[in-house]
């Protein structure tokens, strides 16, 4: 059998973000790969040391667009831990709301791209059109479709009144039946989706532990770690969080976890609106942050996002460091791809929902 090396990327692998793969191929099967990052490294961690604590909030929200709410949330949580700031209860519910609405939009984007890679363009359009309901909702509530600018140190800077709440519920009432009655059944039963995604790019629960995998990638292989239940933050301890797992660890399972998590997030959004207490939405303007350090973690759409913040009592943080879930997920491509066909490479890459903006911070 003839062996050769095949360059894939830096562009055109599922998404128009750059990551370079050198694939060793035997016949039409992948025999090995080498991943090269560094095409768009932006030095954002360095830049955090050039801005004050409050300016960094705007910078950090721009690490990534799909999980843009998770970054400032974890950053604020770290500063609140250092300063001993109690976030008002209403603000904590509003943080959960922002988290979950971003999860809906992020997951729907990923499963839509799966349909696009498979060549099922009508499904791609249908999922993206349904996703627009959430995008419109975000634009109406937050004034923006991607970077919500919801978090501030000590709370949030948005609120939901009765009229907005009614509008959001009407939007959820539009999206939920589309998802449950049309979109999920197609992914569950359609022969094209099944034949291209089931049994492809398989990993096991043991691999997840060995590689430190997180999020839907791990939950799609039966490893049910979710920060919202393992290390609850905000008011997740009061929410009915469903940790959704699938046992098979293939491309299809990862997609199904995301789809079922969209449905679960819609239920959490309804619960937030139902239980939202009265009260303040923040703990006061521009709090002083003393010297200290803290580690915080949140469940971003792609899994566990960890922040370490070190302050020295000045306005400029001594160190802000974060690790995104994609960081570990790249490594497991070595397992997922070997033995699979060349035509499955974009599907497998998309199935880890890779975030290059996050990786190349």
């Amino acid at each position: 059998m003839k062996s050769f090396n095949m360059p894939v990327g830096p562009l055109h692998v599922s998404l128009e973000e750059p990551m370079y793969f050198r694939i060793d191929v035997e016949g039409e099967k992948v025999a090995g790969l080498e991943i090269t990052a560094g095409h768009v490294h932006r030095g954002i961690e360095y830049l955090t040391a050039k801005r004050n604590i409050y300016q960094n909030l705007a910078l950090i929200e721009r690490v990534c667009s799909l999980c843009s709410n998770s970054h400032p949330e974890a950053y604020c949580m770290a500063l609140e831990t250092i300063a001993g700031i109690e976030v008002p209860e209403r603000a904590q519910y509003l943080r959960v709301f922002a988290d979950e609405i971003k999860r809906v939009a992020s997951h729907m984007f990923n499963v839509a791209i799966l349909a696009h890679v498979v060549g099922f363009e009508s499904l791609f359009m249908h999922v993206m059109e349904a996703r627009e309901i959430m995008q419109d909702t975000k634009e109406t509530v937050f004034g923006n479709r991607m970077d919500l600018a919801a978090n501030i140190i000590g709370g949030v800077k948005y609120d939901i009144d009765a009229a907005q709440s009614a509008y959001i519920i009407s939007q959820l009432d539009r999206l939920e039946p589309l998802l449950l009655n049309e979109i999920i059944p197609v992914y569950e039963t359609n022969a094209t989706i099944q034949s291209r995604t089931r049994g492809i790019g398989r990993i096991t629960r043991e691999h997840c532990i060995e590689y430190g995998l997180m999020g839907p990638v791990a939950r799609g292989a039966g490893h049910g770690y979710d920060v919202r239940t393992a290390a609850p933050y905000a008011v997740y301890d009061r929410m009915d969080v469903e940790v959704i797992t699938y046992p098979d660890g293939d491309v299809w399972s990862r997609a199904m976890v995301r789809l079922k998590e969209v449905a679960a997030s819609i239920r959490l959004l309804r619960q937030c609106l139902r239980d939202l207490p009265d009260g303040a939405t923040d703990a006061g303007p521009l709090p002083f942050i003393p010297a200290g350090e803290a580690v915080t973690k949140v469940e971003a759409p792609r899994g566990e996002l960890v922040y370490y913040v070190n302050t020295d009592g000045t306005d400029i943080p001594a160190r802000v460091k974060w690790r995104v879930p994609s960081y570990m997920n790249w490594d497991v491509l070595h397992l997922m791809m070997v033995g699979e066909g060349i035509s499955d490479i974009p599907l497998i890459v998309n199935s880890i929902d890779p975030c290059i903006s996050c990786t190349e911070r």
């Binding site: 990052a37 830049l47 060995e210 393992a230 290390a231 609850p232 973690k297 974060w322 690790r323």
Partner: protein, 171 residues
């Protein structure tokens, strides 16, 4: 889910095993946050083995620059069922630390990253290539002062000011 007191006992058993500083606290959700600062960097591997025995997962490695303290700091953050244990190691500038990849596979990119951005070497590794920046860029960027105008390539800003000055002179 293991309760907080069991995780506390486990972490304290590690703290008793090594020389260094130790603190521990528990949040309102019953999750533990522990900080261990090793007196001797050579205790890192034994500490990692002990954490691994308790099913700890490596979450992240943070390097902190030498800010006139005489040493760099490496902070290894671990997760045990939602609780967080951070193990800190002090390193004099240019010193090396043992790789923990044989214990925690996912340490690989973290170690490549701190070797690239800081003046810290890591021994026992096979792949020491840079992760992010091209070889033509000077190393240890996180320890050097790089003016913001250089980072952001302030050409456009200069152009703006030059145009403003030119416009003002015309008036």
């Amino acid at each position: 889910m293991t309760d907080a007191s069991t995780i506390k006992d486990r972490v304290m058993s590690i703290a008793r095993m090594i020389r260094g500083e130790f603190s521990i606290s528990e949040n309102r959700h019953g999750r533990v946050t522990a900080w261990i600062t090793l007196a001797d960097k050579d205790d890192l591997i034994a500490t990692c083995h002990a954490l691994k025995a308790f099913d700890a997962r490596l979450s992240m490695i943070t390097a902190l620059a030498d800010r006139n303290a005489g040493f760099n700091l490496l902070a290894y953050h671990f997760d045990i069922e939602g609780s967080t244990v951070t193990v800190k190691v002090k390193l004099v500038s240019g010193a090396s630390i043992d790789s923990i990849v044989p214990i925690f596979r996912n340490a690989d990119w973290h170690e490549r990253e701190f070797m690239e951005f800081y003046d810290i070497k890591c021994t026992g590794r096979t792949d020491n290539r840079r992760l992010f920046l091209d070889e033509s860029v000077d190393g240890r960027v996180m320890e050097r002062l790089i003016p913001l105008s250089v980072i952001s390539n302030a050409a456009s800003t200069n152009m703006l000011f030059e145009r403003l000055i030119t416009d003002r002179e015309k008036q």
